[in-house]
C-alpha cells in the first residue's frame, strides 16, 4: 500500500480552485484600485465587486442590493445576530436558536445574554433535527429573531429551513440561517424559503479564506457591526477586499451552477466509504441524519477509542480528518453537537468526521478503507475499555 495524501476535511476548509484564483489574480497587482474612488481605475474595481455581488444574489435568488460582503462567515453570523438584536430591542429581547449551532452563533448568543437578551436553545433529536413544534412553542411575543443553521458542520444534518422560514414569516419574526456549510451543497432560495438573513463563507465552497457575505432581505432592520467608511452601501465599513470578493463571486457561481451533478459524485463516494466503514469496523455508530445530511459528510463514532489519537494515526498515513473529541478541543467536554444528539461522552470521544469534496477521488476511498480499519484496531488493542469489553464476552 503506497502512502497517499488524502484530504477529507472539506468541511473545515477547501482549497481555492485554480479557476477561482485565476479570476482573482488581476486584482492584486494590476487592477488594484480602491472601489470607492471615482476615477476610472477605481470604478473598474467597483464593477468587479458588483459583478460578484450579482453572482451571489443569483445563487441565493436574492437581489444584488441584498448582499453585503464581510470578512468571513463568523463576521456574517455576528453581524446578523447582534445587528438584528440591537436594532430591534424595542420590539423584544428574545432570540431562538439551537443547541447545535456553530460557535460563531452560539457564542454570539451567549454574549447577547450578558447584554440582557434571552435566548432559547432548542434541543435536537438523535439525528440532530429540531422539532418544529418545539420551535413554535418557544416563540413568545418578545421573540425578535430565530437563528437556525442550514446544515450542521459536524454531523451534516440539514434542517427544514423552508418550514422554519414559514413559521417565522407568519409571526413577523426575523429568520437568520447560518448557511456556511450549505452553500454549494444544497439548493438555496431565500425568497421561497422566507429567509431574512443568511451567512456564507467563500472558503467552504472553493473560494478564498477571509471573505464571506451576509444576505439581508430588503427592509430588515439591522445595526452595523463594523462602523466607519461608507462601503457596502454604508452598512459594512472597510476598504473592500477586492480579490477576495471577486473570488467569492467566481466560486459561488461554480459551486451553484451544478449542484445536482456535483452532489451525485460526492455522495456516491461518500456512501461507498461509509458503507465500507460500517462493514469493516464493528462497534461503529453513524452520527447525524441518515438521509438529510450534507452530501460529503461522514460522522461516525468508534467505540473504545479516542478521536485525537485516531487523527494522529490517520495523519501519519496522510489522511486529513476531524474529530469531536474533547482531547482535541482542549476543553473538558466533547463537541456540543455530539452531546446535543445524546451521545455518551465516551462515544463522542471516539468520533471521526470525514468530509469529502472536490479534492477526492475513488482511490482515496479505497485507501481510507484500507488504512482506517487497521488504525481503529490498533487503538482498540491499546484500549483498556476494549479489553474489558472483550473479557466480558463482547457485552
Amino acid at each position: 500500500m503506497e502512502k497517499r495524501f488524502v484530504y477529507m476535511d472539506h468541511a473545515a476548509t477547501t482549497y481555492t480552485k485554480p479557476e477561482v484564483l485565476e479570476a482573482m489574480m488581476p486584482y492584486f497587482t494590476e487592477q488594484f484600485g480602491n472601489a470607492s474612488s471615482i476615477y476610472t481605475f477605481g470604478r473598474r474595481s467597483k464593477a468587479a465587486i458588483e459583478e460578484a455581488r450579482e453572482k451571489v444574489a443569483k445563487a441565493l435568488n436574492a437581489l444584488p442590493d441584498e448582499i453585503y460582503f464581510t470578512g468571513g462567515g463568523s463576521e456574517a453570523d455576528n453581524w446578523a445576530i447582534k445587528g438584528v438584536a440591537f436594532a430591534n430591542r424595542d420590539k423584544g429581547n428574545h432570540i431562538i436558536t439551537t443547541k447545535i449551532e456553530h460557535h460563531a452563533v452560539l457564542h454570539t448568543c451567549e454574549y447577547l445574554e450578558k447584554q440582557g437578551f434571552e435566548v432559547t436553545y432548542l434541543d435536537v433529536d438523535e439525528y440532530g433535527m429540531i422539532n418544529l413544534e418545539d420551535l413554535k412553542k418557544a416563540i413568545t411575543d418578545k421573540t425578535i429573531l430565530i437563528t437556525i443553521m442550514f446544515a450542521n458542520n459536524e454531523i451534516g444534518t440539514i434542517q427544514p429551513i423552508a418550514e422554519i422560514g414559514k413559521i417565522a414569516r407568519e409571526r413577523g419574526i426575523y429568520f437568520h440561517t447560518d448557511a456556511v456549510q450549505a452553500v454549494g451543497n444544497v439548493n438555496i432560495d431565500v425568497k421561497e424559503m422566507n429567509i431574512d438573513l443568511l451567512s456564507l463563507a467563500a472558503h467552504k465552497f472553493y473560494g478564498p479564506k477571509g471573505v464571506g457575505a451576509l444576505y439581508i432581505r430588503k427592509g430588515v432592520k439591522i445595526d452595523n457591526l463594523i462602523h466607519g467608511g461608507g462601503q457596502e452601501r454604508k452598512r459594512r465599513a472597510g476598504t473592500e477586499n477586492l480579490p477576495g470578493i471577486v473570488g467569492l463571486g467566481k466560486a459561488i457561481e461554480l459551486a451553484t451552477s451544478n449542484i445536482e451533478e456535483h452532489n451525485r459524485k460526492i455522495k456516491s463516494m461518500r456512501d461507498r466509504l461509509l458503507n465500507g466503514i460500517m462493514e469493516k469496523i464493528p462497534y461503529t455508530k453513524l452520527n447525524g441524519h441518515p438521509e438529510k445530511r450534507l452530501p460529503g459528510n461522514i460522522n461516525v463514532s468508534f467505540q473504545f477509542i479516542e478521536g485525537e489519537s485516531l487523527l494522529l494515526l490517520l495523519d501519519h498515513y496522510g489522511i486529513c480528518a476531524s474529530t469531536g473529541s474533547a482531547c482535541s478541543s482542549g476543553s473538558l467536554d466533547p463537541s456540543h453537537v455530539l452531546m446535543a444528539i445524546g451521545l455518551p461522552h465516551e462515544i463522542a470521544h471516539g468520533s471521526l468526521r470525514l468530509s469529502l469534496g472536490d479534492l477526492n477521488k475513488e482511490e482515496d476511498v479505497d485507501y481510507v478503507l484500507e488504512v482506517l480499519p487497521q488504525i481503529v484496531q490498533r487503538l482498540r488493542d491499546m484500549s483498556p475499555l476494549y479489553e474489558s469489553f472483550i473479557k466480558e464476552g463482547g457485552k
Binding site: E306, L332, S383
Partner: protein, 139 residues
C-alpha cells in the same frame, strides 16, 4: 504540536499490553473525560521487573504511558513512586500545556498499581499527592 519524542512514543508505544497474573494493577481516569489508563506491574524483590499498559486517550496520554512504563521498568518501588508527571513530560521533550494532565494520569496509574501491590502484600498504601478530583482536569 507534539515533540518528535512524543510522536515516537505515540507511533511506537513501548510496553503495550497486559500482564497475566500481575502483582499490581492501577487504573485511573474515566471514559467520561476521555482518558483511562491502566498499568500492570510485575514485582520481584521490590523491583518492577515488567510493566505493561493500556490507554484510552489522546496522543499525549498514549505517549505518557509509554514513556512512564519505560522509566519505571527495573526500578525499585520506592524509585518508581518518585516518578512525577513533570519528569514524564520532560522525558518526552515537553507536552503542550493543555496536555499536561495526560501525564498526570501516568503518575497516578503507577501509584495505584504500586499501592495495589502493597495492599495485596499486606502493606500500608502510600499517600498519593493528587486527590481524586484532580485526576482529569483539562486546562
Amino acid at each position: 504540536m507534539y515533540s518528535d519524542k512524543v510522536m515516537d512514543h505515540f507511533m511506537n508505544p513501548r510496553n503495550v499490553g497486559e500482564i497475566e497474573n500481575p502483582d499490581g494493577v492501577g487504573e485511573v481516569g474515566n471514559a467520561k473525560c476521555g482518558d483511562i489508563m491502566k498499568i500492570y506491574i510485575k514485582v520481584e524483590n521490590n523491583r518492577i521487573v515488567d510493566v505493561k499498559f493500556k490507554t484510552f486517550g489522546c496522543g499525549s496520554a498514549i505517549a505518557s504511558s509509554s514513556m512512564a512504563t519505560e522509566l519505571i521498568k527495573g526500578k525499585t518501588l520506592e524509585e518508581a513512586w518518585e516518578l512525577t508527571n513533570v519528569a514524564v513530560a520532560e522525558a518526552l521533550d515537553g507536552l503542550p500545556p493543555a496536555k499536561m494532565h495526560c501525564s498526570v494520569l501516568a503518575e497516578q496509574a503507577i501509584h495505584k498499581a504500586i499501592n495495589d501491590y502493597r495492599i495485596k502484600n499486606g502493606l500500608e498504601p502510600w499517600e498519593d499527592r493528587f486527590t481524586d478530583d484532580d485526576d482529569h482536569h483539562h486546562e
